[in-house]
């Protein structure tokens, strides 16, 4: 395990990217920071810039307008980084699969610019906060 991988796994700082989600996964992510789940005690911190982040928490099925911004955010994130596709939409466009404005899902957009990206999936509509924590733990154990 290289130094940079170790740095990602210890106290991962995360950046939250909404690409056209319904707000549900997003409030559950914010919920993680508040007293009941309080992931900051594990050193997981929501940061204000992708340049500070070890992981991206991506929600939503990626709309046509959000796709270029998602790519840009991914480019700005220092590598290695883990992309978490959170929720049914991020994993596979969910109920919006047939929408004319949807170009996702998240893995398709990210793989267009980086075929080797590390992508973890947390399904659910919305996934419960416990599920998100479990997903993060499993993904970090796997890399």
């Amino acid at each position: 395990m290289g130094l940079s991988t170790k740095a990602v796994k210890k106290s991962p700082w995360v950046f939250h990217v909404n690409t056209g989600a319904c707000n549900n996964c997003d409030i559950e992510i914010v919920d993680l920071l508040t007293p009941r789940f309080d992931v900051e005690r594990f050193g997981i911190k929501l940061v204000g810039s992708p340049r500070h982040a070890d992981a991206l928490l991506v929600t939503g099925g990626v709309t046509a307008q959000a796709a270029p911004r998602l790519r840009e955010v991914y480019r700005q994130t220092p590598k290695p980084c883990v992309v978490f596709a959170i929720g049914a939409c991020a994993c596979g466009k969910g109920i919006f699969t047939t929408g004319y404005h949807m170009v996702g899902p998240v893995d398709k957009i990210i793989r267009e610019i980086d075929p080797d990206a590390i992508i973890a999936y947390v399904p659910g509509c919305p996934p419960k906060p416990e599920a998100i924590i479990s997903g993060v733990v499993k993904a970090l154990a796997a890399i």
């Binding site: 056209g20 989600a21 707000n23 508040t34 009941r36 204000g48 911004r69």
Partner: protein
């Protein structure tokens, strides 16, 4: 005015209409040709006067129909004006935005999605489709091709129609431009406003939205009536009880379905639990914006038991999927009643404490009073709803004006405040939370016995409007059926769609340090608005980013605190 007087008033403009129909009693359907639409709309909005709700455009093979939906809140009556555009090749109609700012966005949206031209619109730039969407492709038309079969049109970053009017409102990029957003560290959604600033004072504001547009209205046309509630509950995760309810009420209205009493009570309880958790969520975020992170943490802690209750009743913390045409899917088990009441008592105590703490805090008084004022006439012109309207002294609440579910038989009060500033909005939400707790408790005590749903065999042809009071304001759904098993047109309007444009009225002339809390004060929900905003650096120098803005806001609070204490 009562219903009779309203009918008489509307019939004054009979000569410009081709038909007046009334079904059921509190729904009036007017028809006219497109040339007369401007005059009739002006009459309805300014003379009667009615509150503009939204407009819908329908592609009916030979012609386009533009439906203008209005509400008369005093008696809970909805008036819909249908304007027929017979020229399919070059569909055009006179814009009503010059006298009705609340219609500006919807006309831009109808132009994007259906290709209707609105003559004399002040700012006909692209609103809802992405920058690279091909020109001349209108996704909501019945003959629209799927993206895969579509020829690649010329992608355009420019507006598809140049505005004719000199009063075009765009932020002058030669001035210093301050982008707010797009990614907030703690706001759940992307959002961005371009603020033109002169020193510390905001002089203009522009919004670009589209980022969250998922094309739900088209998706709804591919789903069966019974599947649509699952789609519309995902318009917004925080209003996921009120959207399906408004849709279901629209269908029940024209299908003549009356759900059993118990279902009405269950709907009320779930909607009020949603309001409680949504308002507490807002209080927390508002606290964060002005540097009261303790409030943020405590408020979100108080919110958790409400989510637990919702999970126990419906099986999910959000996206309840409980309401269906003809009733509810899940019942509230009787053994759960004491638990819900006990939790409500606990939350009530905490909320009373929190409300007192906010109302008694001298720092908050100075920090939030007189900030981001939305005047009553602006509130009416921008057609805002919900707590945003009620904090500006506009006394409207769908739950009281057109009682649905069990609201008509329960005792509760509509909270209004005259000031229109951020403080008033906070007060309205805090007091409304206490009212919601009262409603839940009373509804649980009165919960009648019986089934929660009736069997629905068929949805007949027809059209209906349904609205419900979501935590952020009125959600409105219009459904048209041709007797098949799918809606032919389904229009959804969420409260933020009308509340967000009111920033133009409330932010201008304000201080930069007050912008975050003013923007947050309407509890904007961009997924509700079906779109988000991002700004690209077009040569305008970026002066502050979000972090600096948040810092400015917090420093101002801190300064006030030192001065006072």
């Amino acid at each position: 005015m009562n219903q009779q007087q309203l009918n008489t008033r509307i019939s004054e403009i009979r000569d410009k209409l081709t038909a007046i129909e009334q079904k059921p009693d509190n729904r009036i359907w007017l028809s006219c040709e497109s040339e007369n639409a401007y005059a009739v709309n002006k009459f309805l909005f300014e003379e009667v006067p009615l509150r503009f709700v939204i407009a819908t455009v329908i592609d009916s093979d030979d012609y386009f129909e533009v439906l203008y939906h209005y509400a008369y809140d005093e008696i809970g009556c909805m008036v819909t004006l249908k304007a027929l555009i017979r020229d399919r090749e070059n569909p055009a109609i006179e814009s009503i935005a010059p006298f009705l700012p609340g219609a500006e966005w919807i006309e831009r949206e109808m132009h994007d999605l259906m290709g209707i031209e609105f003559r004399n619109h002040p700012d006909m730039r692209r609103l809802i489709l992405s920058d690279d969407w091909p020109v001349g492709v209108y996704p909501l038309r019945k003959d629209a091709k799927k993206p895969a079969e579509r020829p690649d049109g010329e992608p355009s970053r420019r507006p598809t129609v140049q505005s004719q009017s000199p009063a075009r409102r765009t932020v002058q990029l030669s001035k210093p431009v301050l982008p707010v957003g797009p990614f907030h560290p703690l706001q759940e959604e992307m959002e961005l406003f371009q603020l033109a600033v002169d020193g510390e004072i905001v002089t203009d504001i522009d919004m670009r939205i589209s980022y969250n547009h998922r094309g739900m209205e088209k998706i709804a046309e591919t789903l069966q009536f019974d599947q649509v509630p699952f789609l519309v509950s995902r318009i917004c995760g925080i209003c996921s009880a009120s959207h399906p309810l408004a849709y279901v009420q629209a269908v029940e209205e024209f299908a003549g379905i009356t759900p059993p009493d118990r279902a009405l009570y269950v709907r009320t309880i779930i909607n009020e639990l949603e309001r409680i958790h949504s308002h507490i969520l807002w209080v927390g975020l508002a606290g964060h914006f002005i540097g009261y992170d303790t409030v943020f943490m405590w408020a979100w802690k108080y919110r958790e038991p409400v989510l637990d209750l919702l999970e126990e009743i419906t099986g999910n913390r959000n996206n309840y999927g409980n309401v269906r045409i003809g009733g509810c899917r899940e019942d509230i088990p009787d053994e759960l009643k004491p638990k819900i009441i006990a939790e409500m008592d606990k939350i009530e105590k905490k909320m009373v404490m929190l409300t007192k703490a906010v109302l008694d805090d001298p720092v908050l008084h100075v920090r939030l009073k007189g900030i981001g004022i939305l005047k009553k006439e602006d509130a009416i012109n921008y057609c805002v709803t919900g707590p945003t309207a009620r904090a500006s002294g506009v006394d409207i609440d769908v739950r009281r004006d057109e009682p649905y579910a069990a609201y008509g038989v329960l005792n509760w009060n509509v909270i209004t405040q005259p000031e229109g500033d951020v403080f008033a909005k906070a007060v309205v939400r805090l007091l409304e939370t206490l009212e919601a707790i009262k409603i839940v408790k009373e509804a649980l005590v009165k919960l009648p016995k019986g089934p929660v749903a009736i069997e629905v065999k068929q949805i007949p042809a027809g059209e209906g409007c349904g609205h419900a009071e979501a935590p952020r304001g009125e959600t409105f759904h219009y459904v048209r059926s041709d007797g098949g098993n799918r809606p032919v047109r389904h229009k959804m309007r969420a409260p933020s769609y009308v509340n967000v444009p009111s920033f133009k009225a409330s932010c201008l002339g304000g201080n930069i340090a007050d912008v975050t809390i003013t923007l947050a004060s309407v509890d904007p929900c961009y997924s509700c608005t079906e779109r988000l905003a991002v700004v690209k650096d077009r040569g305008g120098k970026v002066l502050h980013d979000y972090e600096t803005l948040l810092k400015l806001s917090r420093e101002k609070t801190e300064k006030i605190r030192k001065e006072i204490l």
